[in-house]
Amino acid sequence: MRERSEGRNLNNMVAVAMSGGVDSSVSAALLHNQGYRVVGIGLQLVDETEANGSARNCCGIGEMEDARRVAEKLGIPFYVLNFKDVFRKHVIDYFTASYLKGETPNPCVPCNGVVKFDTLLKAAMGFGAGLLATGHYAGVEFDVVNNRYVLKKGADGSKDQSYFLYSLSQEQLARAIFPMSDIQKVETRAIARGLRLKVHDKPESQDICFVGTEGYASYISRHAGVLFEPGPILDDAGVVLGTHQGLYRYTIGQRRGLNLSSPKPVYVIDIDPVHNSVTVAPGDRTRRQQRVLLGRMNYVSISKPREPLEVEAVTRYRKPHVPATLAPVDEDSSFALFHYPQEPTAPGQSVVLYHGDTVLCGGIVRRNNIA
């Protein structure tokens, strides 16, 4: 019989979002061993019929059963909560709408900010857990001087997932635990092996968990109920080079899959939903960006600076830090001025600003970002 609370002294109760993967499984195990009263939560995010059989699908029911087995092994309670509506509204619809506008979204950002650290955290608070843990490779610290919680990179640089968490608020960070913060991925697997968790050798999950083997394009046309509309692929002088198969199949900087017979490799430099066109240019003529305009800015670890601030920018997940100056425009938007011109950023992508291993803030690239 598992441990049960008496309904009192729930202060050290923590909810762990358990996907069935190795990171969240080990997170639950570590917290359990540290003496927290751990409650495992599986998130039902899509319909069972919708979840395709892909092994790397974090929303699948099969994964839920993996999570349940881990919870049983640890002797902690485990529940599956139905978050299909909030996931559809804030992640899937956002993802498809963004692609249909010619953007390249990061659905993981609202999944963390809204589904996990808002809806799930509230559910956890509802049963008396003051804290929510996830298996993200990221950290949270309290800065006594500024009286603020600070979001940090994970110690394993190759796995760091702080990029996807920049949209959290102070209230959310205050209730967040990231047990993977100081751990290397290889250690995680070793811990899982040591605990005899069967998930220790599960493959890494993909970033877009709800799109399975069918691919983005098919998923989007099926989900949004739109057929792709072919349109022109232009060069940077406006000459038609070919035909594209629907804007949402393309992203800024893309080189492969363009089906153009040009002598030099060309890259997508613009996606224009108004004219349904894709513009390409050879590598030496892609317009390097001096600056980018970000919207929906969230200042996670700092308050909005009154003056320009020297930062390091990450323009896409896993890209290296590049030096930049952050210049807020208003409450919602800010420029990131690159010290050295950068490859074009894709509208819809998140640009996250760091100072060393601290996430300062982040925002979403606006379409007319070169203005």
């Binding site: 049960r4 609370s5 008496e6 309904g7 409650v39 599986g42 039902q44 069972e48 029911i61 839920m64 309670p77 529940y79 599956v80 909560l81 139905n82 299909k84 509204k89 804030h90 619809d93 956002y94 709408a97 963004s98 950002v109 609202p110 900010g113 809204v114 650290f117 808002d118 955290l121 509230k122 559910a123 608070m125 509802g126 049963f127 008396g128 949209s167 608020s169 209230e171 959310q172 209730r175 919207g295 929906r296 979403i364």
Partner: protein, 397 residues
């Protein structure tokens, strides 16, 4: 540590001691195949037929009208698909209600994809179906009416006898799922005027994996399985004699205990209902409180401003088991189709809890719930007002 409290008897019930003794005894003494000619087989056959007589006498049927199955779902499927297939030359129309168990609804849906037509008759806001609406839906090609005796989520008791009379007048086969009603209400196939009636063992303190279908003599029925000549060739497969004997034992005892057991359960249920309404604001009962319109043991309540699932989790962490509706495979819940069919707003449907009482429950259990729930509800209402973000959403405009 306080004792665990089980208030989910509509989902399943614990095995009763006497029933377990029967089960243990037969498992260890009688292993023969009831179809075998030798004495081992004859022993099993004797137990099987004795059990059939017990079940038959409990519901006012003849022994040859009882078919043993693997449980309620199989009984429903055999009744519905079995009569549909057997009468497909006669017609293709089936009448049911919007609040049936998924064993019935999904069987009907499957038949729709195979060329049958199904009319889903709605219910009123107390989960009750109007017999005249059933009668009004009958057409020349109607071959089956299937309505449950008592609803598994709200406990609503349908006017089955009236429906049976109307269907009988039109010469239409009538099936009722009595899985929830059995053991809480008298079940008599003559009074109800049914042709087919489903029963399950594990809802009446019997074992899981065993149930029965009553089939009135002369009712057309096509088997679902291909196999031998067991159970009148309608349900092939070697009979689960220990399970069947235990099921019969369980049935015999719950029938003996009526009506006193029902009176006792209804007192507990009404104590909880009136207590909740008194001490928590925004509480409403889903379904009728009339004794002749609701089961004595099932109480369905909505508590405004809180999520039923969250309430369930809170209670489970304290060792109290309740339900938000019918159990679902993944463990996650959708709003109940039954409550939505009663025209309950989706938000109130999501705020519902089902308490289903059983023989082990006491007044102390009700008192403990009444002691714990106000704090839980207050916390959940407080948390739902908390704003964790400056911006609630993330979708770009």
């Amino acid at each position: 540590m306080a004792e665990d409290i089980y208030l989910d008897h509509a989902a399943t019930t614990p095995l009763r001691r006497e029933v377990q003794e029967t089960l243990d005894e037969i498992l260890s003494t009688t292993f023969g195949n009831a179809s075998s000619i030798h004495s081992f087989g004859q022993d099993a056959k004797r137990l099987l037929e004795e059990s059939r007589e017990v079940i038959a006498s409990c519901i006012g049927a003849n022994p040859d009208e009882i078919i043993f199955t693997s449980g309620g779902t199989e009984s429903d499927n055999l009744a519905i698909r079995g009569t549909a297939l057997a009468q497909k030359d006669k017609g293709n129309h089936i009448i049911t209600t919007t609040v049936e168990h998924h064993a019935v609804l999904n069987c009907c849906k499957a038949l729709e994809s195979e060329g049958f037509e199904v009319t889903y008759v709605p219910v009123n806001n107390e989960c009750l179906v109007d017999p005249t609406r059933i009668a009004g839906a009958i057409r020349p090609e109607t071959i089956l009416v299937t309505t449950m005796f008592a609803n598994n989520e709200t406990g609503a008791i349908q006017p089955v006898a009236e429906i049976g009379e109307l269907a009988g007048k039109e010469g239409v086969v009538f099936h009722t799922d009595a899985v929830q009603a059995a053991g809480k209400l008298p079940v008599n196939v003559e009074d109800l005027q049914v042709d087919l009636l489903s029963l399950s063992g594990h809802k009446i303190y019997g074992p899981k994996g065993v149930g029965a279908l009553y089939v009135r003599r002369g009712t057309p029925l096509h088997p679902l399985f291909c196999g031998g000549h067991h159970e009148g060739a309608v349900r092939p497969g070697t009979e689960n004699v220990p399970g069947i004997a235990a099921f019969a034992k369980a049935m015999e005892i719950v029938i003996e205990e009526l009506p006193e057991s029902g009176t006792r359960l209804r007192l507990l249920k009404e104590k909880l209902a009136s207590g909740l309404i008194e001490i928590i604001s925004g509480v409403r009962r889903n379904g009728s409180k009339d004794t002749d319109k609701s089961l004595p043991n099932i109480l369905n309540m909505s508590i405004e401003g809180v999520d039923g699932e969250s309430l369930l989790l809170n209670l489970d962490l304290m060792g109290i088991a309740v339900s938000t509706g019918s159990a679902c495979t993944s463990g996650a819940t959708d709003p109940s189709h039954v409550l939505l069919a009663m025209a309950l707003p989706p938000q109130l449907a999501q705020s519902s809890l089902r308490f289903s009482f059983g023989r082990d429950n006491t007044e102390a259990h009700v008192e403990r719930l009444l002691e714990l729930l106000p704090d839980i509800v207050a916390r959940l209402r407080r948390v739902s007002a908390v704003r964790l973000k400056d911006r609630p959403g993330s979708v770009q405009t």
